[in-house]
């Protein structure tokens, strides 16, 4: 392993220092990233690449850095993009047959902003098809593997992004989170995953799954790295009507390692013995003790509508998805059935051939819940329950600054273990979906291992109060060694 590859395993801060002190160039760093991806190809974490373009961008960054004029903390830093975030001239397939050859003619806002900051896009990550899944198994590229144990899932749907950071391919990867798709894979892969508040980062160029829930966010090895990437991506974008009309909050300067005086709520409904594995619960309780000791006030809170979150989530998400995915009709781009006999045949075959089983299942569910006669009973009611869930959080946050829960009820499951049981897969989202339904910022960070596999700690904040959860997460990191644990194969 080269010196550059060793540096690549470090945090964004150590990489930045190495670049700015001219210990290595951005080109060397990007070459190291490509080399690591070559060696880790079997993980199927990063599935398409444009090395030539990446190396060109790295050279430009190297020149800027040599001239002492880096554009930002990310200048010359390798970044992995999820396959549902579009970049001009690059494939954006959503791991779906229907977009297998789709090359985007335009950039997502986050791509534009990160490129302007000097970031180098080194590859595009595997994901569950159209972000519908929790295991990165429903993909035309095949399942992605967990760097901690390749027989296990890296979670999903942003599993490829999480695995890429865990395997040391890049210090930053972007994912998207509709019901936990950043946090659960972060938890499974032992990295930090951050879903900002809904409306904080523009969705322009994020291929939609469920518009009212989708949010882009970063993966990194530390909370402060996530915060740095977040600052560069966040802030109002006129191209997204749901984007908060405010500039990016200055969160990095709030990471002072202090939690004294902060109140952390533990929702009693999330700490029930059944449904959560003892190993996970043990690590989370230890984390609570660490924060308690650091001066945070720990209080019990209640989120009474928790039992309805999964049902509500699957009604809202599938309804929106059924409409969002209607554009993949074989007419303008994407997969088109050969020799259709008529229009009906073109639609039927293009979509039957183009979509995988889970996507079809959700389109059917969503179509059903929006149908005349069922709308009120399903979609209408789900929206009302969503309001109640939001209200639960408002009341809970009257008593605390941050809510702490496990990220997932278990550690990484085996590949294939749940792929035949959609309902079991849906239930594994139990701790994460409420943040999407309520639009809250949420962070997952490593809090130790259980049977050699990473456990994730989740922090939820008030809407648009990203700073508090990042501050608590950073303080926890400073007090613990968990974020320095790396998968056996990725050790430098």
């Amino acid at each position: 392993m080269s010196q550059a590859e060793k540096v690549l395993s470090g945090s964004l801060r150590t990489l930045r220092e190495a670049l700015d002190r001219k210990e290595l160039t951005a080109s060397e760093l990007v070459e190291a990233s490509l080399a690591r991806m070559d060696r880790g190809k079997d993980l199927a974490a990063v599935v398409t690449r444009n090395d030539e373009k990446a190396l060109r961008a790295a050279e430009e960054a190297s020149r800027r850095i040599a001239a002492g004029k880096p554009r930002s903390v990310l200048d010359g830093i390798p970044v992995v993009l999820k396959h549902n975030i579009v970049e001009q001239g690059e494939l954006a397939t959503c791991s779906s047959r229907i977009l297998e050859n789709f090359v985007s003619p335009y950039d997502a806002t986050v791509v534009e902003r990160l490129r302007a900051a000097g970031a180098v896009f080194v590859g595009r990550a595997n994901m569950d098809e159209f972000a519908m899944g929790s295991s990165t198994e429903s993909s035309i590229y095949g399942p992605a593997h967990n760097p901690w144990d390749p027989t296990r899932s890296c979670g999903g749907s942003s599993g490829g992004s999480a695995a890429a950071v865990a395997a040391g391919f890049a210090p930053i990867a972007l994912g998207s989170d509709t019901g936990g798709s950043i946090r659960q894979p972060a938890s499974f892969c032992g990295v930090v995953g951050f879903k900002p508040s809904y409306g904080r980062i523009s969705r322009w160029g994020l291929i939609a799954f469920a518009s009212s829930l989708d949010q882009i966010g970063p993966f990194a090895r530390t909370v402060s790295d996530c915060a740095a990437a977040f600052e560069l991506m966040a802030g109002h974008d006129a191209r997204d009507s749901t984007s908060l009309p405010e500039p990016a909050p200055k969160v990095c300067e709030r990471l002072d390692g202090e939690v004294a005086g902060m109140t952390i709520g533990l929702p009693k409904e999330y700490f029930v013995e059944q449904g959560v594995s003892p190993g996970v619960l043990a690590r989370v309780r230890e984390a609570i003790a660490v924060l308690d000791k650091a001066g945070a006030k720990i209080v019990p809170v209640s989120l009474p509508h928790t039992t309805h979150t999964i049902a509500t989530y699957y009604l809202v998400a599938t309804a929106e998805a059924s409409s969002n995915l209607a554009r993949y009709d074989g007419v303008r781009y994407g997969r088109r059935a050969k020799d259709p006999v008529d229009l009906e045949d073109l639609y039927r075959r293009s979509r039957s051939e183009g979509f995988g089983a889970e996507v079809k299942r959700r389109i059917l569910l969503g179509t059903y819940v929006l149908s005349a006669g069922y709308y009120d009973a399903y979609y209408g009611k789900a929206q009302r329950v969503r309001t109640l869930i939001r209200r639960d959080f408002e009341l809970a946050f009257a008593q605390c600054d941050v809510i702490l829960t496990p990220t997932a009820p278990e550690t990484a499951f085996r590949l294939g273990e749940k792929s035949g049981d959609p309902l079991a897969m849906y239930l594994s989202d139990v701790y994460t979906v409420s943040a999407n339904l309520a639009g809250l910022p949420a962070l997952s960070l490593p809090c130790g291992l259980s049977d050699g596999l990473p456990v994730g700690l989740q922090l939820l904040g008030k809407p648009f109060d990203e700073a508090s959860i990042l501050r608590v997460g950073d303080a926890f990191e400073r007090a613990t060694p968990h974020h320095r644990l790396v998968p056996p194969g990725a050790a430098s």
């Binding site: 954006a92 959503c94 322009w204 160029g205 749901t242 409409s323 995915l325 303008r332 179509t367 149908s371």
Partner: protein, 493 residues
């Protein structure tokens, strides 16, 4: 069947789709342009590429508010965009963004003057107030082209230039009772759309499209019959003819003891017949739901008031002013306010000649006839209000005759010019010179002794004949008043 109007009543509601006069599309920055190369006025958003998002065009909102205020409607403080889901090749997203339960405009009305059948040249009109249920914003779809020459073979081609063009759908209450009322409603609505600069509303360009809901019931009944919807009527004549044809079809069914079935109808203007396109029982389920990519449209009361203050005088306000302040009849005021340019032409002419009544007469009788014959708009002629006012002064002052004035008018319309100079150059002054008239009168009296005797006997009727003879000899230049007086003086002494 002939006396159906005595036995049956029609119940008609009109839905209008009008293109708003915006620079760009409803949810994308692509320009709104007509006659552009296919697929050249499109943006990623119009193509529904993966990852794009809609952003509402504020200019379209402004125009919807203008129309709402112009039809005395409520502009709702909160309205919601919803997705109407259906698959069609010219609908790129697989859904149309429209407004469903919460439109931007609701509960308005407008007054419509409808010519009374049998009234002399439609100069009698009744005024009816027609309710408008709602008006909402939505995007247009693209166009599917099935023309072999363009698409080639059995394929169809798709042009997305129109996809995303802002539309306002304006839905009337079922308050209309005759085909004539329906077309009068449409004309009035078009006048308003143009007056407040919301739409060019050119039916030929597809900027104003009309669907008509039609049902029939026996006179005196108060419940509605089963209605059908005639789609895509693209001229006023088609609207009237199609409604009539559909009403007759329904009456025939009922008279035969059959039932009218709820359906979507097409109209064939060649055969003047309606035909069933699709039965409503197979109605699509559009799975409407609020578009999660867009936030609620909130309109501040202050904004509504600012728009209200910026509105020009509306056709009905202008109509009322023409009646009250200028002494025009309801019919005249109605005709002169059908378009802003015509109303402005009238007002300038009236103030320049000092006689609103004469100005109204001239414009309704002569100017509109010429415009209709030559299919022109008033701006496209050489005639200006100053010229027409000059001509009116010449006629009203007795300096030229009606016949000569018609000659001068014809020149003014095509070439323009100074009416007085034209009159002089062409020798079209009225002859009020008693010597000349005396001479012609003497000749005529000598030539028709029997008629003269009749008049002397107390019968005035043949006097007109003699006047005509004198006019003829003067080549139409004699001033009719002096001719009449001269003849009476000579015959009766």
């Amino acid at each position: 069947m002939r006396d159906w109007r005595e036995r049956y009543e029609l119940v008609i509601g009109i839905e209008v789709h009008t293109h708003l006069k915006t620079a760009s599309k409803l949810f994308s920055p692509a320009p709104v342009r007509y006659g552009e190369e296919p697929n050249h006025a499109v943006h990623e958003i119009d193509l529904a590429l993966p990852g794009v998002l809609p952003v509402l065009n504020e200019q379209a909102v402004e125009l919807a508010i203008r129309l709402g205020l112009a039809i005395h409607a409520t502009v709702n403080p909160v309205s919601i965009f919803a997705r109407k889901n259906y698959f069609y090749p010219d609908l790129p997203k697989g859904y149309q963004i429209s407004q469903y339960e919460d439109p931007i405009v609701s509960k308005g009305w407008l007054d419509v003057d409808v010519a009374v059948p049998g009234g002399a040249k439609g100069e009698k009109a009744v005024r009816r107030r027609i309710g408008i249920t709602r008006a909402h914003l939505e995007e247009d779809a693209g166009k599917s082209i099935h023309d072999d020459a363009i698409a080639g073979g059995a394929d169809s081609a798709i042009d997305l230039n129109r996809a995303g063009v802002p539309l306002l759908e304006i839905v009337s209450e079922p308050d209309l009772r005759t085909p004539e009322e329906a077309s009068a409603y449409l004309r009035t609505l078009r006048g308003i759309l143009r007056a407040v600069d919301v739409s060019d509303a050119d039916m030929e360009k597809g900027q104003l499209r009309c669907d008509a809901n039609v049902s029939i019931r026996r006179k005196g009944e108060t419940t509605f019959g089963t209605r059908t919807e005639i789609k895509n009527l693209n001229s006023f004549t088609h609207v009237e003819d199609a409604i009539l044809a559909e009403a007759l079809r329904q009456i025939e069914l009922v008279e035969d003891g059959k039932a009218v079935v709820q359906a979507t109808m097409g109209y064939d203007p060649e055969r003047k017949r309606t035909h069933v396109q699709r039965l409503k029982e197979n109605a699509d389920d559009y799975r409407y739901f609020p578009d999660p990519d867009l936030i609620e449209l909130r309109i501040d009361p202050a904004r509504i008031e600012a728009v209200r203050a910026s509105l020009p005088e509306l056709p009905d306000q202008m109509r009322a002013r023409f009646e009250a302040a200028l002494g025009l009849s309801a019919y005249e005021a109605g005709v002169l306010t059908t378009s802003r340019s015509l109303a402005e032409f009238f007002e300038s002419t009236a103030s320049a000649c000092g006689s609103p009544k004469s100005a109204a007469n001239w414009i309704i009788r002569d100017v509109l006839r010429v415009l209709k014959e030559r299919d022109l708009e008033i701006e496209q002629t050489a005639l200006t209000p100053a010229m027409l006012a000059g001509l009116i002064r010449l006629v009203d002052g007795g300096r030229t005759t009606a016949r000569s004035a018609a000659e001068i008018f014809a020149i003014l319309v095509t070439e323009g010019g100074d009416p007085e100079r034209l009159m002089v150059e062409r020798g079209l002054e009225a002859v009020s010179d008693t010597g000349a008239i005396d001479g012609f009168a003497d000749q005529v009296i000598a030539a028709h002794p029997d008629v003269v005797a009749q008049i002397r006997g107390g019968d005035d009727k043949p006097l007109n004949f003699l006047m005509g003879q004198v006019m003829k000899r003067s080549q139409g230049k004699a001033e009719p008043g002096s001719v009449r007086q001269t003849l009476i003086r000579k015959i009766r002494g």
